[in-house]
Point group: C2
Chain length 358, copies 2
């Protein structure tokens, strides 16, 4: 098992990464302060891992909320189910919520914990690669609004993150690839040695080799933890983590949440960011081809949906949280392994990127 510390002063917490660690009570118990626990999970994950987790929690009063599975349920109705169960079961301020599932479960459970009785403790047990390398770390929580993705939420750090690589063996191939998109992201924005390692390791990752996954998760979380420690509330460099996400969110929103997986949209979004960076003369055509080859080799889409016009992109991208005073801010690549945040670019290059993306 590997341990990584997220350094945020009095809100610091460890990430434990390893095989078969999900129900280890010695990793859980020290991070639970009261006697009540509420596990939030979904219909897909509950039959696989709920009982195993409960074995590590025998000394607590445990309630469970099982939500339907999917991004389209990341909304106010699901949050209300969590609130209602907490209130009916009389959970007090000392309760601890545990998110057992992917990014959707983690984001919702985290926001419920941030807002129930003005904030209670929570623990992340991510069971998808995407949530293990990205969404479970850093304290971003929230839900979608019909008018925009992740528009309602809070910064609320977990007490501990437990990433059990064994859970990835039951993950559908498409979701494993979606997770690899975020792994590739860390290489592209700030870590060339890691990018080269991912290129060499892509087959082992896709075949779910436990040690290779463990290293991918550790290095992804290390990069993320370093950025979050510098800029917890995303007033600066944390926005670099959104490489591919501004384009990607537009794809997700336009296609209807859940039809494209988040990681798939990010894969295409990173391709669009790389294309635009090449058109700006920042990266070479060889670099662009290298990015395309890696994203393709992870079985991720490199083209945006056929039914999306450039107007569709602009409409959704105008709502992005990173924008300031009506300029669309983008994360682009000054070089491979060196991303920047900018709203200063020629609009014709932006338009060309949108037009040529599908």
């Amino acid at each position: 098992m590997q341990t990584l510390n997220v350094d945020l002063g009095d809100r610091s917490y460890p990430i434990f990464i390893g095989e078969n660690i999900l129900g280890q009570s010695d990793l859980l118990v020290p991070y639970i302060n009261g006697q009540q626990v509420m596990i939030v999970t979904n219909e897909t994950v509950a039959p696989l891992y709920l009982e195993e987790l409960k074995k590590g929690l025998v000394e607590f009063h445990v309630d469970v909320v099982v939500l339907p599975d999917g991004e389209k349920y990341k909304n106010s109705e699901s949050i209300d189910k969590i609130y209602a169960s907490l209130l009916k079961n009389r959970h007090n301020r000392k309760t601890t919520l545990i998110a057992l599932g992917g990014g959707v479960v983690g984001d919702m459970c985290g926001f419920a914990a941030a807002s129930y009785q003005r904030g209670v403790d929570f623990i992340q047990i991510p069971t998808t690669l995407l949530s293990q390398v990205d969404s479970s770390v850093g304290g971003k929580t929230g839900i979608n609004h019909p008018l925009g993705k992740n528009m309602i939420g809070a910064f609320h750090q977990p007490n501990v993150v437990i990433a059990d690589t064994k859970t990835l063996t039951t993950l559908p191939e498409r979701e494993l690839s979606a997770g690899i998109a975020e792994v590739i992201k860390y290489g592209l924005i700030r870590d060339m040695p890691f990018l080269s390692w991912i290129e060499r390791s892509i087959s082992a990752l896709l075949s779910c080799d436990q040690d290779t996954l463990s290293k991918a998760i550790y290095d992804s979380c290390r990069n993320k933890a370093e950025i979050v420690a510098l800029d917890e509330r995303e007033s600066g460099c944390r926005a670099l983590l959104n490489l591919g996400h501004t384009f990607g969110h537009a794809i997700e929103a336009h296609q209807g949440y859940g039809n494209w997986l988040h990681g798939e949209a990010v894969g295409t979004g990173m391709m669009m960011a790389a294309y635009m960076s090449e058109k700006l003369g920042w990266i070479s055509n060889e670099d662009l081809q290298r990015v395309e080859k890696l994203i393709s080799s992870a079985n991720l889409p490199v083209k945006s949906p056929n039914n999306m016009t450039s107007e569709n992109f602009v409409e959704y991208m105008s709502l992005d949280k990173k924008n300031v005073d009506h300029r669309i801010r983008l994360v682009l690549l000054k070089a491979l392994g060196d991303a920047v945040i900018t709203s200063d670019y020629p609009s014709d290059v932006f338009q060309e990127t949108l037009l040529n993306s599908n």
Copy 2:
């Protein structure tokens, strides 16, 4: 005009108290960081003060959400109206929300600001006595859930609070009295000189004398700011501010939110706390009569609703956020001007208090 500072490190902010200061741009502009402003108000307050406030905001892009008036609208639907208006009008992370209204508007607007795009700036312009002396100060925001009052929310401090005493001249008498309940509370829990002053000043307060109101607001906010600075997130002494509130919340919830005003329920709740404190031998019968006389003289109810049984009280009080591990925690009076938080009391005295309250 008087100024009081709430000392919370990098979240410190001033409270301005005075007559006709609502639309003074020099009190507003320094506390707005972006170009967008969203005023959240209600149908009663908007016709009275919205235009005056807008005069101080001519240099900003201003949108307005007007909500229906009343505690029963302090729910997720109203919050969603604020989110939808922010998104439709493309408000970004640099937006500032301004709450113009009473405690309900302030709590909802504050929670919308805490959760929109994971947190944006907000300003409190309370227009009721209750919100000027209590709810606008200290950063508690939230909404009610059908299963419990103020169960969903966040701690989110405003950038500035502007308490214009002139707005109290248009306040219904019943609401003025409800505000005086919270003023009395500060005297009872920690400030005997202030309690004596309130006893002497009750007629002037009820007749809306501007200077007397200004002093009542200043001393109330001073007491509250001192407590909040010691314990922002209510892990200790901040719970003293809930004198009368645990009983009171049960009354409000049982009667249906809005039928009893919050301050009226707190008035009766403080009587119940005083009664129980007298039965415990902590305060004298003369003290109890003094409390009853003061609450009555403010035109507040001293008896709980006839239709409430002790079981009704216990049912609602069991859900209180202050409770730890199923014991009902109460704020009681060791002496006048000296409140304590305790869950250690004989249950027969508690039962007697409930039975004799109406």
